[in-house]
Structure formats: C-alpha cells, structure tokens
C-alpha cells in the first residue's frame, strides 16, 4: 500500500533467504511483499500490536529479534521470519481458582520455573516493547501479581521472551497470568455491580427484548 517516493536510494537486504531491493521507508513486511518473498504467514496487524511478525535480524555480527512491521528496510541486513512458537506448557483455568488466598501457592504449581530465573536478561533484550520482563517475572514469583501484570501492560503476545528464556519460565504467560488473576479477583467496580444488580431485579425489557443472556448471572465463589 505504500506509495513510492522515488527520491530515496534503494537498499538491498535478505528476507527469508531471498535477496530483496526495497525503499528504506518500507517495513520488513512491505519489503517482503515488494520483493516477491514467498508468502509471509506471520503478519497481521501491521502496527505492532498482534505480535505475530517475529523476525530474527542480522546486522554485521549482531543478531537480534524484532517485529517486522516495526522494523525498516536497511542496507545489508538479513532477516528471517520466525515460525510461531509452540503451545504453552503451563496449564490452568481461572475458574479452577476458588480462593484468592492461595494464588501464590497455585502460581508456584503452575509456573514452577518462575523462581529459578537466572537473570540472563534474554527476555528483556528480546522484548520489542521494552518491557522489564525479568522484573515482572520476579514480581510474580514474589506474589505481587498486580504490579507484575502492570509491568506487562504493553505486551503484544509475541512470546519472543518465552523463546529466549533458558529456564523455560514462559515470561509472557507469567505476565498474562498476573494480569488475568488480578482482574479475576480484584476488579469489583461499584458502578458495574450496581447496574448488574438493577438488571437482576428488573431485567431490561427493550422492544422485543429476548431473554437476557443466560449464564451472565452464574454463581461465582469469590
């Protein structure tokens, strides 16, 4: 979709092993399209929020990771779209949590590796969003889930930190766990609760209103 400006010199780079000539204002995704690289299957939002366009990037001797839709074509770089990460190994469902007092114990069962962080900083170096992943993991391991979750606020689920973690802590999932458990146990907004209570006493009867959505008043034990 990019319009050529024409007056910039082109750059030569390598994408997935294919030589590509591109304009420097193009992102790696656009350069791949323009350069006839076989179809890129890992790109979606093109604005850095879906985390799917994970690439490995080589400049000289230095190799790093990035998101392709936020990385621009550069003379001489080599890039490679990484395959999607494998499914997470840590299993839990929020509905299994009956009691807010044993979150930390359950967390340790679910993420037993989390307190084995060896402080290699791999996760931090990997994160395209500049998140203090390592500190977030430490907060979660210390049971400070609200703060841990806040650290992961801009996480885009690219899971580059998971791939980078030698202890297989799955930091991205630790972050998401922290955010989710915080909402699940601690988000109890009075204005919402009040309106739900009003609707329970007097269900909404708009024109032709069907039965309210079943299950929206299911019992919960927290």
């Amino acid at each position: 979709m990019t319009k050529k400006t024409g007056d910039e010199p082109t750059v030569d780079l390598l994408i997935n092993g294919v030589k590509v000539r591109a304009e420097p204002h193009m992102t790696i995704v656009e350069a791949a399209w323009a350069g006839g690289v076989p179809r890129i299957t890992g790109a979606s939002c093109l604005e850095g929020v879906c985390g799917s366009c994970r690439i490995l990037l080589r400049r000289g001797q230095e190799v790093s990771v990035a998101l392709a839709c936020e990385t621009f074509a550069e003379q001489g770089v080599e890039t490679l779209f990484l395959p999607p990460p494998s499914a997470p190994r840590h299993q839990y469902e929020l509905s299994d949590f009956k009691d807010g007092w044993d979150i930390q114990a359950r967390f340790q069962e679910i993420f037993p590796e989390a307190d084995r962080c060896r402080h290699c900083h791999g996760c931090v170096q990997s994160c395209p969003k500049g998140i203090a992943v390592e500190d977030g993991v430490a907060l979660a391991a210390a049971g400070r889930f609200r703060e841990a979750g806040e650290a992961f606020f801009e996480c885009v689920m690219c899971e580059l930190c998971d791939s980078a973690c030698p202890e297989q802590i799955a930091p991205a999932h630790v972050g998401l766990f922290s955010r989710r458990i915080t909402a699940f146990f601690h988000l109890r907004p009075p204005n919402l609760i009040h309106r739900l209570e009003e609707l329970r006493q007097e269900p909404f009867s708009g024109s032709n209103n069907p039965a309210p959505l079943p299950g929206s008043d299911e019992k919960e034990s927290s």
Binding site: M1, T2, K3, T5, H25, M26, W33, A34, G36, P38, R39, T41, G42, A43, S44, C45, L46, E47, G48, V49, C50, G51, S52, E70, P84, A87, P88, Q91, Y92, E93, L94, G149, F153, E154, V156, M157, H173, L176, R179, R180, T182, A183, F184, L187, P189, P190, N191, L192, R195, L199, F204, G206, S207, N208, N209, P212, L213, G215, S216, D217
Partner: protein, 540 residues
Amino acid sequence: MTRGLSLQAALAAYRVDAELAPLPQPLEPDALLNAFHPDHLRDGIATLAVGPNAGARCPRELADLLQAEAYIDEVDLAGVEVTDTDVLVIGGGGAGSAAALAAAERGARVLLATKMRLGDSNTVMAEGGIQAAIEPDDSVQQHLQDTLRAGHHAGNPALVAAMVGDGPGVIRWLIRQGMQFDQTASGDLHTRRAGGISAPRIVHCRDYTGLEMMRALREAVIQHRGIEVWDQAPAVELLSNENGRKCVGAVLGSLDGQKLRIVRARSVILATGGIGRLHLHGFPTSNHLGATGDGLVLAYRIGARLCDLDSFQYHPTGLVNPPYLSGKLVTEGIRAAGALLLNAEGHRFIDELQPRDIVSAAIIRECREGRGIHPDTGGVGVWLDTARLERGQPGLIEQQFPKLLARSRIAGIDPRRDPVLVYPTLHYQNGGAVIDVDGATTVPGLYAAGEVAGGIHGHNRIMGNALLEIISFGRRAGMAAAISSHDRGPKKITLEHVNQARRALTLAGLPLTRRAPQIMPDYTAPGKDFQIAANPRSKS
C-alpha cells in the same frame, strides 16, 4: 484534489495557539452524506445477480467475491483427513474466542480454526473501548436508542436490544476471563463519551482495549481443556448435507502449502471478521491483513442471507503519513478527549463528536474542495489537532493514549508537538450475515457472530459497539451452537451447495475464473493467487 497546501507549508502555517473561528453553519447531514460519503458513490457499485441477495447493490470488489467460484470441488476431498467435533468455530478474533469459550462452558467439544495465529484480528487492534450502560446517568434504554439512531434506524431492534441488555453482563464476563479495565480513584469503571452517544458509556483499558481483551481471551482459549486451536488453518469452503441446505462442517486450507483438512461438525460458527483488506473504492484500511471478507463469501455460497451490503464505515481519523501506517487508526477517544479537526486553512469545519459517517463525509468534503493538506508521499488529509489538546491538558496523551505515542515514536512523529494528518479509512463492515438473537444464520447449522454478522449497527456504528457485539453475540452463538449440537451429527458431508452456486453462476452468465474467498490480499504475494497447494490443478 490539486489545491490545498503541501504538508510542509501547512506545518509552517500551523500555530498551536491560533485563535479559532466559530464553526460554520453545518450542512444538513443527509445532504453531506449523499454528496461525500463513499457509500453514496455511484461508481464502483454492482448489483448482485445470484444468491439470496440477488438484486441487492454492493461495492464491486465485494460483489466479485460473492459471485466467484469455489477453490475446491468433490475430487479434492477424496482421501482428505476428517476430524470430528461438536462445534467448529472459524475465526480467532474476539467473537470466535467468546463463542468457543461459551460453547466449551456448555460442555461441547470445540475446535477453533483461524487463518493466522489465534488473536491475529481486528479485535486486537481496537483502541477506544467497549460500550456498556453502567453509569448512574445512563441506562440500557438510552444505549438502545443511541445505537438505533446512529444507525439511521436501519438496525434490527431485537438484536440491538439483546446486545445492549447484555452489556453490563459482558463486562463482568470479560473480567472473569481476566480482562482489566481502567478505573477511577474510587474503583468505578472509568467511562468515556464518544461521537453519537448520550452519556459516558465507553469502558476501556487505556487505548489498548482490544489488545487487553484479546490477550485475556486468547489465554483463556489456549488454556481451556475443552477447546482445540488450529492456527494457520483458514476455512476455504463450508460443507453441506446432501441437499446443500444445511452446514455440516468446513474445509480448511493453509497459508504455506500444507494439505487440506476436513472438519465435520454439528454446528459451525463463522467469526471471520471484516472486509477492510478488500480496499473498497481504493480506500486504505485500519483492518488487519486477514480481513478479506471470507466469512461473507462462504456464508453467501451456502445460501445464507446477508444484509446492508452497501453500508461500510469509514473511520474519520486514519493516518496518512508515514506511508506504511497509511489507513491506521487514531482512536476516536482522542476526539472524545477534546482534539479538534482543522483544515488546511486552520479552520474547524465540523463538530468533531458527530457520528463517524458524518465526520468522515465532512473531511472528504474539505479535501475535495481544496482545503486539504498534501504530503509529498501521496494522499491528502486534514489536521487532527493533538498538539492543542496536549497544550490544554498537558500529560493527557501520555497517560491515556500510550499506543498513539508508542507508534508515533517509531515513525519519528510527536503528536504532542505537531498535529497529525488524518483522512477517512475503511474501518468496519456495518452489515453482514443475517442472524437471530442466537446468532443463527438463515442456513441451519450455521451461526455467525461479530463483524461478519449484520443487522445491529444499521448504516453506521458508534464507537465501542463492535467490541460489545462480538462478545454478546459470540457468547450467544456459542451457547446456542453447543445446545443444538446435541442433535445427531451429520452423516454425509458434501459440496452440494458449491455445485448449486456454480450452476447459478453459469445460468447468470457470470465467469467462473475468479475464485474466492480471498484469504489474503493480493499484494501480500504479488502474482501468486492463494492456492490450494495440495491440489495444483488447472481448471478451465
């Protein structure tokens, strides 16, 4: 569009503290829409010749796909591996995830197949928020009225009532899935106003509402024991029973040349999202790469009625510059927070909080009448005056719109210092598959939820109603599909509907050369149409 100012000249002329003239007398809304809204363009519109909506008008780009040949026929299915499930959900955005979770909560075995990776969607990109009438000075009734009015009373009141009534319960359900929302100091959910709504009603998570929603739902789906997820498995066709009238599953392809797979299901839920990547009338889009209207094509071919195919939303504030972000959104939340729109002459020209279709038409008018700003990378736009907003409320952009800032930083722009160039961008498909309050389409066994479904937003959607719709109807469809999947399962799986559609195309004298659904935009692999790689056969 030759007159107007260059970007440099406009930037040089811009003064953050310039005195603003009062708004001119507004044009009558209908006249403005008629003259300037893209839905009212006379060129590039076709009339459908076949299918349940024969006779209806819609943009040519869409008509071409709705009246295209399928990728596959029976010979392609010989020997293909078959997987059985109770509920097949097609699409891994918000609607698909909500449907899968709801069906699984009801004990159904669920398979969720998505085109790219679970979460790659329009949902993840939503910024502004989700509507739910929860404030004391608001009511579900007001929400109903606002929605119908903004949609020019073309929405189905029963569907709208169902959705707005679900609103507060949807927020609670989302919290139970682990989604966070912004709160006030006293712990209430923070609400925002937006164009076309009568009370503060948009709840949000800063300007990352969709990301936060998708993160929580994605994790919930991945972690759910009753849901299996197939990534990189786009549906290329539905399956029907012997007479082609009931949906009994789908054929899944792949983006990188793997084999076809057949899924036989008791119910199928389409949750494939929107059509932005069809670039109707050549517009840029805010949508993700997979928004190619596949669900509409699949539903139409199997005989489901669609509605409002001539009505699309062009979001007023798509970025123009830098080119790689062209069409990407600046959230409406920023206008709700007080940012103004200015033309090349530095004048306001519209009440910024009017409904989106009107604001978009007004911007198009400014540009067409020579009051636009032209960057030398192409395109045209008007100012969204973020710098003035920052001056009036220092720190606001950083606190409430971190996504805007993060994105600008990469592009080397500072919206706190300079205004941002914007132009309408193809954003949302107002219509879609006709559904009832259970999300059932007009074809038995086939449900639709989310942007692919129609009937709620009429001819214009107000901010925050899409995210509400996907959860409300996603869950409704999921639950209904789980219940109806107690039926005995399908016996025979055929492509009878494909045969019927082909006959209709031939009878109408339409070519069989074009194939659909599109799956990926052409420009992602120029010259290489999407192919069913396992079956490379040429067909005359």
